[in-house]
């Protein structure tokens, strides 16, 4: 169901908005407009809808208008033109009092630098939204404590924000927003100030939360990985304009223009690189021809202790180890077939590194890359790690 609809919304900061508007329509650049009129284009002609229960991510580089756009949604910034509907109600025409009610009941915001009030305790911060609604003291205490409990921060309720770490502060920021039980959550770079590990935890928490209580979430980030991880759909902005809207998959596979293509190159390689990009040539042994002595000879030459077993059609059959080959040679076996092991994990060549990493870290052997039964290569942990680390020159890997 449609929760939020943004129609032709434009925000121009400054005085000569009419003239600036004319210039944007003529496709003039942001700097040119600023020079000519002194006005800044914050957002230009934004159009999108967000469905109930959806996480809608807005991303773009610094200055692209993300914060402006999200603030237009709760009218912390008033649009120069355009309409914003929430549950079918046009909020651009609301009176001050009506707007306050919408803010109190329908939506809450989470801020990049947490936006916690330094003179209020954690509990008092969490109560704030309920307090301004005029909810009785006991009631709001109860609700705020519950929200803090869910965030695992009840023990800190009498502390002040400055006594908490960044991650904890943002949990409070989220708890404060949720204590109000809003239908829409507006999150402006809510996790950007946190360090990467905590950030990932928070993303997980948000996804978990979303699985439990379905909110409509507008989430801003400049981090593509974050967008891909949590977004149901993603909008990419540039210079105040929305360039493309789609699922992560759609945008990755079908970028609308060169700008987005360049933008995407920034993406975490573990989500882009596939097995094919990082696999190495396998040392094989042919189970139909080769005996243990040949296998041992090859291992010695290549200084390895494992060979991949294949048949004449290079169908993947398993692997043999140096120990078994030695044993087999001692016992005078003619073929390696009797001691081929089959417990080597396999992936196909399109598997992304992110999914390979857990497999390879659990496996004592390398991982085989197999397409339709046929051996393509093997994956060695060292090589994968290296390919991630050297992501900056990783361009060739895609070839």
């Amino acid at each position: 169901m449609e929760k939020l609809r943004v129609e032709h919304v434009t925000k121009i900061f400054g005085k000569q908005t009419a003239q600036a508007l004319k210039l944007v329509e003529q496709q003039k650049s942001k700097t040119e407009i600023l020079e000519k009129t002194g006005a800044t284009v914050g957002v230009y002609d934004a159009n999108f809808t967000v469905n109930e229960g959806e996480i809608f991510v807005i991303m773009g580089l610094s200055g692209s208008g993300k914060s402006t756009l999200i603030r237009l949604l709760n009218r912390l910034i008033d649009p120069t033109s355009g309409k914003i509907h929430i549950d079918g109600q046009n909020i651009t025409s609301l009176s001050k009092g009506e707007l306050q009610n919408i803010r109190r009941e329908k939506m809450s915001m989470v801020f990049q630098n947490f936006g916690l009030f330094p003179h209020r305790t954690i509990l008092e911060n969490t109560e704030y939204g309920l307090e301004v609604r005029g909810i009785s003291k006991e009631q709001r205490r109860l609700k705020a404590e519950k929200a803090l409990q869910n965030a695992g921060l009840l023990a800190y309720k009498d502390q002040y924000p400055s006594q908490l770490s960044g991650g904890m502060q943002q949990r409070v920021g989220l708890a404060r927003a949720l204590a109000n039980d809003p239908e829409i959550l507006l999150m402006d770079e809510a996790f950007s100030a946190l360090d990467p590990l905590i950030r990932k935890d928070m993303q997980d928490e948000l996804l978990e939360l979303q699985a439990n209580v379905q909110k409509t979430i507008i989430f801003i980030t400049h981090d593509l990985n974050e967008a891909l991880r949590i977004g149901d759909r993603i909008a990419i902005m540039k210079d105040g304009k929305i360039m493309q809207i789609g699922t992560g998959e759609e945008i990755l596979t079908n970028p609308a223009n060169d700008y987005i293509r360049t933008f995407l190159e920034d993406v975490d390689r573990s989500k882009v690189l596939t097995a094919e990009n990082v696999m190495v040539r396998p040392m094989t042994v042919n189970i139909e021809n080769d005996g243990p002595k040949v296998a041992l000879q090859r291992m010695r030459e290549e200084e390895i202790s494992v060979l991949i077993a294949v048949d004449k059609q290079r169908q993947f059959k398993g692997y043999i180890t140096a120990n078994d080959a030695l044993e087999g040679a001692k016992n005078g076996l003619k073929s390696v077939q009797s001691f081929v092991k089959t417990d080597m994990p396999t992936v196909d060549s399109t598997t992304v590194i992110q999914d390979i990493l857990p497999i390879i870290s659990d496996s004592p052997t390398p991982v085989a890359v197999v397409d339709e039964g046929k051996l393509r290569g093997i994956l060695i942990r060292g090589v994968i790690i290296e390919s991630l680390a050297s992501s900056s020159q990783g361009g060739e890997l895609n070839e």
Binding site: L99, R104, M109, F117
Partner: protein, 282 residues
């Protein structure tokens, strides 16, 4: 050239101001009279009340206050005890109480007027731009000048003294209140707005608490400025330590002048430290 300049008739600025003053004095004479007699009797009773307190009790109360206000340090309490005992010893106790009343009333009135004006200035750019030059004017004008309208409106005595002090001491409270509120981080103001706060809720729950220490710095300055008007106000008959200083000056009594001046300094230091310590975080 010279001729040309001389041909311009003298602008009647002084006359205009005088006429306006006359008009004000006549039109509001009833109001001013009420303020004069009412204010005088209120302040005289406060002074009488303060003087009725045995000095030793007064001194101990100040010392205990100082002790807790400075977070259990001994410096200020000890200084207060010896300083106040010295003033008592010099026979200036009643004058001190008069000065105290004058400073108290001027400061309170300045704060009661100044904080709301400051709030208005912080919220409204038009108000900011029109009030700021007035404040500059008020601060650069020598304090003596305010005695003239004070006398015209109220005659002589303590009430015109308070009037002149209030005008002189008002600007820092106004300025710092406006500054403090404007300095509240934008994100916090947005947070308050985003939860649907009304203007008053935002002001009292977020902006004023966060601007508090800046406002207190302004109030501290206001108190000290009103103290600095004590001597000047004595010229129009306001009683207190200032009058001692003034009469010593008129009679060229160096010794008496020194003692009265020193008493004022002691009082100023106590007041300054006490108001400052209110501002420190627990």
């Amino acid at each position: 050239m010279n001729n040309f300049l001389n041909n311009i008739p003298k602008l009647e600025v002084a006359d205009t101001v005088e006429n306006t003053m006359d008009w004000l004095t006549k039109t509001f004479s009833g109001l001013f009279k009420v303020m004069q007699t009412g204010g005088k009797s209120v302040m005289e009773s406060v002074t009488a009340l303060l003087t009725a307190v045995p000095p030793i009790v007064f001194i101990l109360v100040v010392a205990i206050l100082a002790f807790f206000a400075t977070r259990r340090k001994f410096g200020l309490p000890v200084f207060s005890i010896f300083g106040l005992l010295f003033i008592y010893n010099q026979g200036l106790w009643e004058q001190l109480m008069n000065t105290f009343t004058l400073v108290l009333f001027s400061s309170i009135i300045a704060i009661v007027l100044g904080v709301p004006i400051g709030i208005l200035m912080s919220k409204n750019n038009v108000a900011e731009n029109s009030i700021k030059p007035i404040l500059d004017f008020m601060q650069t004008m020598p304090g003596f000048v305010y005695l003239i309208p004070a006398v015209a409106f109220f005659g002589i005595g303590v009430v015109p003294g308070v009037f002149a002090s209030v005008i002189f001491a008002l600007p820092p409270t106004v300025r710092f209140t406006s500054l403090g509120i404007r300095q509240v981080p934008k994100e916090l103001v947005e947070a308050a707005d985003s939860f649907g706060s009304t203007g008053a809720q935002k002001l009292f729950k977020v902006e004023l608490p966060l601007a508090k220490s800046t406002i207190m710095a302004g109030i501290n300055q206001t108190v000290l400025l009103s103290l600095s008007m004590v001597v000047i106000a004595s010229m129009i008959g306001a009683p207190g330590l200032g009058r001692e200083v003034l009469s010593a000056l008129q009679r060229a009594q160096v010794g008496n002048g020194f003692v009265a001046g020193l008493s004022l300094v002691i009082f100023a230091i106590i007041v300054d430290r006490l108001t400052q310590s209110l501002n420190q975080k627990k």
